[in-house]
C-alpha cells in the first residue's frame, strides 16, 4: 500500500525542513500568515471569554487549528467557494467573513449566518459531513459555467465516518469536480479518539478508494498546509479533479465551551504537546530564525487586532434586538398562508420575551 508520510516545511523549532519554497514564503507572506493566525487566536480567546461572561451562547474554540485554517484560507482565490464547519470560523474570518456577524452567530442570531457579500463563504455546517456534497455540487456548477473557480470543504476526523463523506468524495471523483476536501484531523471527535473512529492509519489513504490524490501534512505548519492546498487547487482548476488533504492538528482545548475534555483525555499531556507544537509559536520561531521578527511589529498588529475585535464585540452587542419577522419571512420567497397566519397571531399575542 502507498504510504502517506507527514509532510512538513518547517520543524517545531521553526527551521526549514524543505527550503525549496523560501523565496515564495518571503517576509511579507510569512508576516501575513502570522498576522492572521494571531488575529484568529485573539478572536478565539475573546469568544471563550464572552461565553464565560454569558455574553454569547455555546462557543466552539479552535486553538491548535490556526495554521491549518489560515494556511488553507489564504490559498483560495477571490471567487472560490468555502464550506466550513462550526470549528472553522478562523478560516472563514481569514477568507473574509465579517467579524461582527460571526459573533452574532455565537449569540444565537440568524443574521450571524449571513454570508459576506464579497466572498462565497457558506454559514457553518452543524450536522457533520453534510456539506461535503455541497462543495462537490458548487464545484461541478463552476465547471458547467466555464469558470476556473474551485471549492473547499472543511471537516474533522469524525466526519469521515459519516456516509456523506463517502458520497461527497465519490461524486466529486467521478465528475472530476474542482474541489479540495480539507480535513483537520485533531484526533478527537468530541471524546472519541481517532483509533476508535477508524481502523485506517491515516485519513489521507482513504483517497485511494476514490482514485484521487491524498496528501498528509503537518497541520500546525502553516507553510506545508498552504502549499498542499495551493497545489490541490491548481490541479482542480486544470480539470484534474478533487484532492483529499489531511492536516494533522491538535485541539488544545475543549470540543465546545459545554465540554469538559478532562473526562476523556489527559489534558496535561495535551498542554505539553501544545508547548512543543503550537503553530503560532512555531511561526514566531521561524520569523526569528529568518530575522523578520520585531517586538514593535507584533505589538502594533496585536493592538490593531484588539481594536478590531473590541469594535466588533461592541457592534454585536449593540445590534438591534432580534426581529421575529426574520423567522417567518425567509422560509419561502412568498410566505404560505400558514406562516402568514402564524406570524399575525404572534404579533397579536406576543412571544416569551
Amino acid at each position: 500500500m502507498e504510504s502517506y508520510p507527514l509532510y512538513q516545511m518547517i520543524d517545531e523549532n521553526g527551521e526549514w525542513v524543505n527550503k525549496s519554497y523560501e523565496e515564495e514564503f518571503n517576509e511579507e507572506k510569512v508576516k501575513e500568515f502570522y498576522y492572521h493566525m494571531l488575529r484568529i487566536r485573539t478572536y478565539d480567546q475573546k469568544g471563550v471569554a464572552l461565553q464565560r461572561q454569558g455574553r454569547i451562547g455555546t462557543y466552539v474554540p479552535f486553538p491548535g487549528h490556526e495554521g491549518a485554517q489560515v494556511g488553507s484560507a489564504l490559498a483560495l482565490s477571490e471567487n472560490d467557494w468555502m464550506f466550513p464547519t462550526y470549528r472553522d470560523h478562523g478560516a472563514s474570518l481569514t477568507f473574509g467573513a465579517d467579524l461582527d456577524r460571526m459573533l452574532l452567530h455565537w449569540n444565537g442570531r440568524i443574521e450571524g449566518c449571513l454570508p459576506s457579500k464579497e466572498k462565497r463563504i457558506m454559514p457553518a455546517s452543524i450536522p457533520i459531513a453534510t456539506h461535503l456534497p455541497h462543495a462537490t455540487g458548487a464545484a461541478i456548477a463552476e465547471v458547467y459555467k466555464g469558470t476556473d473557480n474551485a471549492a473547499i470543504a472543511y471537516f474533522g476526523d469524525g466526519a469521515t465516518s459519516e456516509g456523506d463523506f463517502h458520497e461527497g468524495l465519490n461524486i466529486a471523483s467521478v465528475f472530476k469536480a474542482p474541489v479540495v476536501f480539507f480535513n483537520q484531523n485533531n484526533g478527537y471527535a468530541i471524546s472519541l479518539p481517532i483509533e476508535k473512529q477508524m481502523n485506517s492509519e491515516t485519513i489521507a489513504q482513504k483517497a485511494v478508494a476514490y482514485g484521487i490524490p491524498g496528501v498528509r501534512v503537518d497541520g500546525m505548519d502553516v507553510f506545508a498546509v498552504h502549499y498542499a492546498v495551493k497545489e490541490a487547487l491548481e490541479r482542480a482548476r486544470k480539470g484534474q479533479g478533487p484532492t483529499l488533504i489531511e492536516a494533522v492538528v491538535i485541539r488544545f482545548g475543549a470540543h465546545t465551551t459545554a465540554d469538559d475534555p478532562s473526562k476523556y483525555r489527559d489534558q496535561e499531556e495535551i498542554n505539553r504537546q501544545k508547548e512543543a507544537k503550537d503553530p503560532l509559536l512555531r511561526l514566531k520561531k521561524h520569523l526569528q530564525f529568518r530575522g523578520f521578527w520585531s517586538e514593535e511589529w507584533v505589538e502594533s498588529i496585536q493592538s490593531d487586532i484588539r481594536k478590531e475585535i473590541e469594535a466588533a464585540v461592541e457592534k454585536m452587542e449593540n445590534a438591534p434586538a432580534a426581529n421575529t419577522d426574520d423567522m417567518f419571512d425567509h422560509v419561502f420567497r412568498e410566505p404560505t398562508w400558514t406562516i402568514s397566519r402564524q406570524k399575525e397571531q404572534l404579533g397579536l399575542i406576543g412571544g416569551n420575551r
Binding site: 469524525g158 456523506d164 406576543g350
Partner: protein, 338 residues
C-alpha cells in the same frame, strides 16, 4: 462507592433525582437485570454522554456493553438492527434529535418494518433515546421537536416523559417492549427539578397518558417540555375561576384514545399545546381522535398552540418560536368563552 450504592439499594425505596439522573438510573437498572441489553452511541462511554445520561455506566459495565461508536448515526442504528436480529436489546443514543436524520433511512426502511416483512419471525426490540426541544440556548439544529415525523411512521412507538418518575418508568417499559421505541427526552427538563424516583424496577405502560391536574372547564393536552408551561398557566387560570384538566399524553404513538375522550367528554373545551411545527403536527391527530370519539360533546372549537411552520430559529428567537404563557392563556380563554 460500591458500598454506598449497596446501602442505598437496601435501605431506601426511592431517591430524589433529576430527570437525567432518573434516566441514568433506569439504564443502570436495565444493564443490571438483562445481560442482553447494551448501550451504543457517540460519546456515551468514557465521556458518559454529552448530557451525562450514561455517566459511569461504561466503568461499571465495561466497553462491551456501553459502546462508543464512530460518528455515524446510520452506521450505529443499522448495527443495532443487526444486533437486535441476533437477540440483543440495543439502546442507542442520538446525541440530539436534530442529528437523527442520517439514521432516518435505517429507521424508516428497516427498524420499523422488520417484523412485518418477516411475518413476525424477526423483530427489533430497540430503543432510540434522543434529547429534543428548544429553550436552552443550544446551537442551530440542536433544538428540534420533530416527533410527528416518527409518529407518522408505522412500526415504531414514540414516548416522551415530562418528569423524572415517568422517565425511568417509561424507559424501562420501552426496553421491555418487543418493538422499537423512540424515547424523546426534553433536554430543558433534564435538571430543572427533582422528585422521588423508586429504586429498582418499575414500568409505566406505553400507550397510557396521565392526568396531572384535575379540572372541569378546559382540557389541556401536552407532553414533555410543555407540561411545566401548561401547569404554570393552569395555576394562573385558577385565579379567574377557570379549572383546567391537564393531560400529559407522554405516549405519542400510540395515543391514549380513552383518556383523550374521557377528558373531552367532561369539559367539552380543548387546548392542545406542542412545541413541534403546527402543520402535520400531533395536535391535528389529537383533533381527529376528538372528532371520532367526542364530537357532540364539544362546546367550542379545539384550540392549538404550537411551534410555527418555520425551522427552529437560532436561540435569540427560540422563545418566540416556542408556545408562550401568553399564547396558551389566550387559547384557554378563547375556548372557555366561546
Amino acid at each position: 462507592m460500591v458500598m454506598s450504592n449497596e446501602i442505598i439499594k437496601t435501605k431506601a425505596t426511592s431517591q430524589s433525582l433529576t430527570m437525567i439522573q432518573a434516566i441514568t438510573d433506569g439504564l443502570k437498572t436495565m444493564l443490571d437485570s438483562d445481560q442482553n441489553t447494551i448501550i451504543m452511541g457517540e460519546d456515551v462511554g468514557r465521556n458518559g454522554g454529552v448530557f451525562r445520561a450514561t455517566d459511569g455506566l461504561q466503568e461499571t459495565f465495561g466497553e462491551k456493553r456501553v459502546i462508543d461508536t464512530p460518528l455515524s448515526e446510520a452506521g450505529f442504528v443499522g448495527t443495532a438492527v443487526g444486533m437486535a436480529l441476533a437477540g440483543l436489546k440495543p439502546v442507542v443514543e442520538i446525541q440530539f434529535l436534530g442529528f437523527i436524520y442520517p439514521a432516518f433511512e435505517q429507521i424508516a426502511t428497516h427498524v420499523t418494518r422488520m417484523r412485518m416483512r418477516t411475518l413476525g419471525q424477526y423483530h427489533i426490540p430497540m430503543v432510540i433515546r434522543a434529547p429534543y426541544g428548544a429553550g436552552v440556548r443550544s446551537p442551530e439544529i440542536h433544538s428540534e421537536s420533530v416527533e410527528a415525523l416518527f409518529t407518522h411512521l408505522p412500526g415504531i412507538k414514540v414516548v416522551c416523559p415530562s418528569n423524572a418518575y415517568d422517565a425511568k418508568g417509561l424507559l424501562l417499559a420501552a426496553v421491555d417492549d418487543p418493538d422499537p421505541v423512540l424515547f424523546l427526552e426534553p433536554m430543558r427538563l433534564y435538571r430543572g427539578s427533582r422528585e422521588e424516583v423508586p429504586t429498582g424496577d418499575y414500568r409505566i405502560e406505553i400507550g397510557k397518558g396521565t392526568r396531572v391536574q384535575e379540572g372541569n372547564d378546559v382540557t389541556i393536552f401536552a407532553w414533555g417540555a410543555m407540561i411545566p408551561l401548561v401547569m404554570k398557566v393552569s395555576e394562573q387560570m385558577k385565579k379567574d375561576g377557570i379549572s383546567c384538566d391537564v393531560i400529559d399524553l407522554r405516549s405519542l404513538y400510540p395515543l391514549d384514545r380513552d383518556l383523550i375522550a374521557d377528558s373531552v367528554q367532561k369539559t367539552g373545551r380543548v387546548v392542545i399545546v406542542h412545541e413541534g411545527h403546527e402543520t402535520g403536527g400531533l395536535g391535528s391527530e389529537i383533533i381527529s381522535i376528538i372528532n371520532d370519539t367526542s364530537f357532540l360533546y364539544l362546546k367550542a372549537p379545539v384550540e392549538k398552540v404550537t411551534g410555527f411552520d418555520v425551522p427552529v430559529p437560532l436561540f435569540s428567537l427560540e422563545n418566540d418560536y416556542l408556545p408562550s404563557t401568553e399564547r396558551v392563556e389566550t387559547a384557554i380563554r378563547k375556548a372557555y368563552t366561546f
